[in-house]
């Protein structure tokens, strides 16, 4: 397709190097049995984890199996809304679909009673004052705004407790 004369003027036209062909696909999402329980917990303003019957570790949210033992998790464990920042980063990069003003803190939060951290947003503290070991609590949306989704958790904020000792969370980095 290079340098062919155009029909009208006889001027050469450039090569076609790119064609945009937008693709749109819609998918349903099935959370599954275990995640449904977690989501129903969020709807009630609580974190619901599940314990592995083999290794007794508590996963939140559980996807329905223990990742190391490969067995179904069935026992529900209700967790407190408090936890420890095990590690974090300051996000300063804009991306499509981003809904939070940058810079913001994406932290690994280990909920008290859980054995696996998950990523949460930290607010109500300047980014440069966040630290590993910081104790935080969940801030929920208003009770009438609770839904079966992580949108029910607005963010985590410092809860004023002294920082956790490194040894208490170093296994969860």
């Amino acid at each position: 397709m290079t340098d062919q004369p155009s029909a009208g003027s006889g001027e050469p036209i450039g090569p076609v190097t790119m064609l945009a062909t937008p693709i749109r696909l819609d998918f349903d999402f099935t959370p599954g049995v275990a995640q449904s329980r977690f989501l129903r917990g969020l709807e009630r303003g609580t974190f619901l984890g599940q314990r592995c019957p083999t290794c007794h570790k508590v996963y939140v949210p559980s996807r329905g199996t223990c990742p190391t033992d490969g067995v179904a998790t069935t026992e529900d464990v209700e967790l407190a809304g408090t936890g420890t920042v095990t590690t974090y980063c300051v996000v300063n990069v804009p991306f499509a679909g981003q809904s939070i003003e940058i810079p913001y803190i994406a932290a690994q939060v280990l909920l008290d009673g859980a054995n696996l951290s998950f990523m949460g947003l930290i607010q109500e503290i300047p980014a440069d004052e966040v630290r590993m070991g910081m104790r935080v609590e969940a801030v929920w949306v208003a009770p009438d705004e609770l839904t079966p989704s992580l949108a029910s958790v607005r963010y985590f904020r410092p809860n004023g407790e002294p920082d956790a000792d490194y040894d208490t969370y170093k296994e969860y980095l």
């Binding site: 062909t21 696909l25 819609d26 998918f27 349903d28 099935t30 996807r63 329905g64």
Partner: protein, 360 residues
């Protein structure tokens, strides 16, 4: 096997165990991991082993079924790969995952392998999704859907005088009836050809019954070599040959009424070395069974798709692996001595795998 390596001694590898999920139109209750977990548990427990008894794991799946990248990553949680395992994944039907595992067993890098695949075809619009398999510059933007392309193939078959619409209906009728004997199948029905021929066309000349059902499913197989093969099975089912071949992508450059890649894969797998009792053929559309039967050189004495085949349950990415498992089960139970299983991928049978199985 390639001709160059034809002199190679094949290490005997057996299909030691096979399990599949209940094939359903839609599983709204379980996520991928939860759907896979009981299948993995069953494939091990049937022969009394655990994950610790296999030294390689390989899976097959595609991200486009759930609409998110790395879907195979979380699926691994159904196995529990701890301590860490030698593990791999193909973005193909599980039949090709089985091939990769078979290669490792040939090399002697492993003595037993878990192969699994999962595919929930119900979460998106399969017609739109499979269009993305086409040439992204010249074909996919035009938006041809897989049913229309398959209809072109069926039309070519009719025009070549090789089949009629009644033949398609007869295949569908037989498949649904055979599926009555397969509790895991999705479409199980004793329905006469005449009744099926009253179906509306989806895309002429394909009526509803000539199309595969949309299926959520999963499957797993354990491969074993050496003394594990004989220890885990009363009657080991040996893979005596396995090969796969591709054709060109452009439909206009192919004779859609034939499947030369199936024929050459069958030759490489040594299918012609003797007769087979049954064939499990991965023919998602009814007319494709006619093409594949010819390519495999099967006569009418061979039972085709006694499980009901893909017309009775077609979980994408698993349907090919299930063919191998179904054929193996019939040999293991003494119902057959030699069988051929086939898997396909791509529009209008572009890529095909042939696996020849024999009972001890």
């Amino acid at each position: 096997m390639s001709p160059a390596a034809a002199g190679r001694t094949v290490r005997p590898v057996s299909i030691a165990s096979f399990a599949q999920a209940q094939n359903v139109r839609r599983d709204d209750v379980h996520n991928e991991v939860e759907g896979l977990l009981p299948v993995i548990e069953e494939v091990f427990s049937t022969i009394g082993i655990t994950k610790d008894d296999v030294d390689f794991i390989c899976s097959g799946s595609t991200d486009y079924l759930i609409g998110g990248p790395f879907s195979f990553v979380m699926a691994l949680d159904a196995v529990g790969v701890w301590p860490p395992r030698a593990e791999s994944h193909v973005e193909m039907d599980g039949a090709w995952a089985l091939y990769e595992a078979w290669v490792l067993l040939q090399e002697g890098k492993a003595d037993a392998a878990l192969v699994y695949s999962f595919g929930r075809s119900s979460l998106g619009d399969l017609g739109e999704i499979l269009t993305l398999q086409l040439d992204p510059y010249y074909l996919a933007p035009l938006g041809p859907d897989i049913v229309s392309l398959s209809a072109l193939q069926a039309r070519a078959l009719i025009d070549a005088g090789k089949a009629s619409e009644a033949d398609f209906a007869a295949i569908a009728s037989r498949s649904r009836r055979d599926a009555l004997g397969n509790p895991k199948a999705q479409v199980r029905q004793d329905v006469a050809v005449e009744v099926l021929l009253a179906d509306d066309y989806v895309v002429s000349p394909l009526r509803r019954h000539a199309l595969p059902p949309i299926t959520d499913g999963a499957a797993a197989i354990v491969l074993a070599a050496g003394d594990k093969a004989t220890r885990w099975s009363e009657r080991p089912v040996w893979i005596t040959g396995i090969d796969h071949r591709s054709e060109t992508h452009s439909l206009g450059a192919r004779d859609l009424t034939t499947s030369p890649s199936t024929a050459s894969a069958a030759a490489m797998a040594g299918l012609g070395a003797g007769p087979v009792d049954l064939a499990e053929i991965h023919a998602p559309f009814a007319h494709q069974e006619i093409i594949l039967k010819e390519a495999l050189g099967l006569d009418d004495a061979v039972a085709v798709n006694p499980s009901g085949g893909a017309l009775a349950a077609n979980p994408l990415m698993s349907a090919g692996l299930i063919r191998i498992g179904e054929a193996a089960n019939r040999i293991a139970s003494g119902g057959a001595d030699r069988a051929v299983a086939h898997a396909t991928s791509g529009p209008c049978l572009q890529q095909n795998l042939v696996c020849v199985l024999e009972g001890a």
